[in-house]
């Protein structure tokens, strides 16, 4: 397939996944705000700070707003086009990529992305949000699920599918680490609060943000503890949002792309992903905490970037073109008839 097409499919899948995750994150936190902090204005004004930090968008946010209160933060995360990771931006980027390859994706996939795009861009979108944010985010998540269902059931499971898988699972692994990292940025009032009600509550939010609560209960059959929650989201092998699960799927997609058998390698990218997978396979959560949870999540994010870059080098890289985009835009338009 064309390298450009592979690239578009990869980014389309990534951005749809990102929109989905941000919708989960914002929705869950909005709901929890209904229960907590109602009286404490200072806390309310900073509530979203850790979330912005974990997404690495706090600088962009503070260039525009002082306080990370609910109004500014949810707007920045949902509708603000100056934030490339806002839901609206993600959906725009996903659709732009889909539009470039609409001959390569199924009509159903294209229509779903297009529908989603029109949903968030309609004048009524903010009204729907005003009347029920939860309903708004549900629609985003649902559309992302439909996109995934259609991706697996309406296209050939060929190369394009592998790039879709790599984009989706790499993004999901990354978002899971970011959601987990929110916990690091929320400072507990006192050291002795660790394991206390507030701490447990915060871990609960994390699990809910990743739709992991029910699966967690099923797995551990016990209260939420930091160690188990982190273990579940990083090292679980059969929960589809856990980092290890995602990296296993990224790795196997990369191996199928290169037609490799067990133990074989043909590009650096498979070594990088294979090494990370082995690390996750053979790590215990105690090792992670000893290393430092935040530090470990950082390390994982760096590795995800390495996989993405090496994949680009192997399959997509073509000499960068120094072009004036304005000129291209003009030339594309003046073609006749």
């Amino acid at each position: 397939m064309l390298s450009r097409v592979a690239n578009c499919i990869y980014w389309m899948a990534r951005y749809i996944e990102r929109a989905d995750n941000i919708a989960r994150l914002v929705d869950v936190n909005l709901q929890l705000l209904l229960d907590y902090f109602q009286s404490d204005k200072t806390k309310l004004d900073q509530y979203w700070e850790p979330i912005l930090k974990s997404l690495s968008i706090e600088e962009a946010f503070h260039a525009k707003y002082q306080l990370a209160n609910t109004d500014c933060a949810t707007d920045f995360l949902t509708f603000d086009l100056s934030n490339p990771s806002s839901i609206k931006s993600c959906i725009r980027t996903a659709r732009e990529n889909a539009r470039l390859v609409r001959d390569q994706i199924s009509t159903e996939i294209w229509e779903e992305i297009n529908r989603l795009y029109h949903f968030v861009n309609a004048a009524s979108a903010e009204e729907i949000w005003e009347s029920s944010p939860s309903e708004f985010y549900r629609q985003i998540r649902q559309s992302s699920q439909i996109f995934q269902g259609l991706s697996s059931s309406t296209v050939l499971h060929d190369e394009a599918w592998e790039f879709n898988q790599i984009g989706k699972y790499l993004e999901r692994a990354d978002m899971t680490t970011r959601i987990l990292d929110v916990k690091y940025h929320i400072l507990l009032p006192r050291v002795e609060d660790v394991g206390g009600a507030l701490d447990t509550f915060q871990w609960l939010v994390i699990l809910r943000s990743t739709s992991a609560m029910e699966a967690y209960m099923k797995t551990y059959n016990s209260d939420v503890t930091p160690l188990q929650a982190a273990e579940f989201l990083i090292l679980n092998n059969i929960f589809p949002r856990a980092v290890r699960f995602c990296i296993r799927l990224v790795d196997s997609a990369l191996r199928r792309l290169a037609h490799l058998r067990e133990g074989e390698f043909s590009h650096p990218v498979e070594k990088i992903s294979g090494k990370l997978l082995a690390e996750l396979d053979y790590s215990a959560i105690e090792d992670v905490f000893q290393y430092g949870l935040h530090e470990y999540l950082d390390h994982l994010q760096v590795e995800f970037n390495h996989i993405g870059e090496a994949m680009q080098q192997t399959y997509i890289y073509s000499p960068a073109q120094e072009m004036g985009s304005e000129v291209i835009w003009h030339q594309q338009q003046i073609q006749q008839q």
Partner: protein
Amino acid sequence: MDLIHNYSTDGFFDELLDENHQPRPHYAHFIEKLSHLTAEEFAERRQEAEIYFLHRGITFTVYGDAQGVERIIPFDCIPRIIPHREWKRLEEGLIQRITALNLFLHDVYHDQKIIRDGVIPRHYIESARHFRREFIGFNVPRDIYIHICGTDLVRDRNGQYLVLEDNGRCPSGVSYMLENRQAMKRVFPEFFSGANVLPIDAYPSALLRMLQYIAPQGVDDPTVVLLTPGLYNSAYFEHAFLAKSMGIDIVEGADLVVKNHIVYMRTTRGLKPVHVIYRRIDDDFLDPTVFRKDSLLGVPGLIEAYRRGNVSLANSIGTGVADDKVIYYFVPRMIRYYLDQEPIIPNVQTYLAQEPRDYTYILEHLNQLVVKSANESGGYGMLIGPQASSEEIAEFKRKIIADPRNYIAQEPIALSRHPTYCEGKFEGRHIDLRPYILYGEKITIVPGGLTRVALPKGSLVVNSSQGGGTKDTWVLHEDTTN
């Protein structure tokens, strides 16, 4: 829903009603079906059609805005219907025309007999902006120049079909023809039962067959691609639609690379040879090493690969000379000269500003004529004399005096009209018809075409860039009336 009540033809030729205000027989079945719908039902279905277009992303890009705004092309739900016998005659006329045009192109790039025999003055050919003298003596694959032609037809006050122009470079719009039919079938399925409408779905496979046919010699299983200018081109939707319907790759210039005069595309598995390019980019932009140096859309080295016969292009290079509006004037002469036949579909009465006698006539009658510049399209660079202000007329006068070669004038045609749904009722609106002709191993014309409709009241300009809309076009099977 009653279509005829309160409907006035205002003295124009109406596609649906005859001069006695009676429906023409080939519309009877449709009118009967429509009468079963209430006004509310009809309005609801119309809305469904719009949602269909929006959700499918069937859009074109309006230029001039900073980002290029996507719009749905307005779609009118009352189909234009053409009886079988009438279509047969049109088909013959279009085949005659594309045959003559291809013979002409071969001739001007080879022996130039038509010039030497004095049928077309040499200076008109040599001054044509898209005449590629670099390709004189060059043999294009299978001797076909125009593979895809979109010929614009109109009907005058007497219902006589006339050729308005031949679009022989990269004509667009065929995707709307196909999507309009899909939308109609989906939203008004009952209109079709018993209507005997000829199907048009064969277009993409006929197009692919034609493209494969022109592959370089010795290539059995050619790789065919569609070359697009890119996402911001007005017809990008169509490029993607056609590539998908044919199962071929859509590529941008940067996806292609030429090595040792062979064209390759960059894939995830390295370079893959390309044999046939359905290019939707103008000649000028195809190869910055040959034509416009500043082109960022093209592929360096493409033309040399083409010259060496390693890759085929559709349409061939240099076809623009045949759709120069001045050369259009000579098409009836070409038909007589090459085929020894009378043109089946006549041209619109046309004057050439560079001919001394016509020049005086044009300048004296500007307020009664339609003036067009030789190489514009999309409804740009036009003067509609009877509707123009005195400033506009003065401006065109200056332009014509400065560059008479670049202008033609035509008698305004009282274009035929068709009932069209306008704010709750049916009104007559002017229409034209663009059938698509494919020239491969044989000449294929799917029965129908794109009917464009000028939506603003009284307007004669049907281009989408000028606020035009479209209709589904039905050609009936021969077993039906007429």
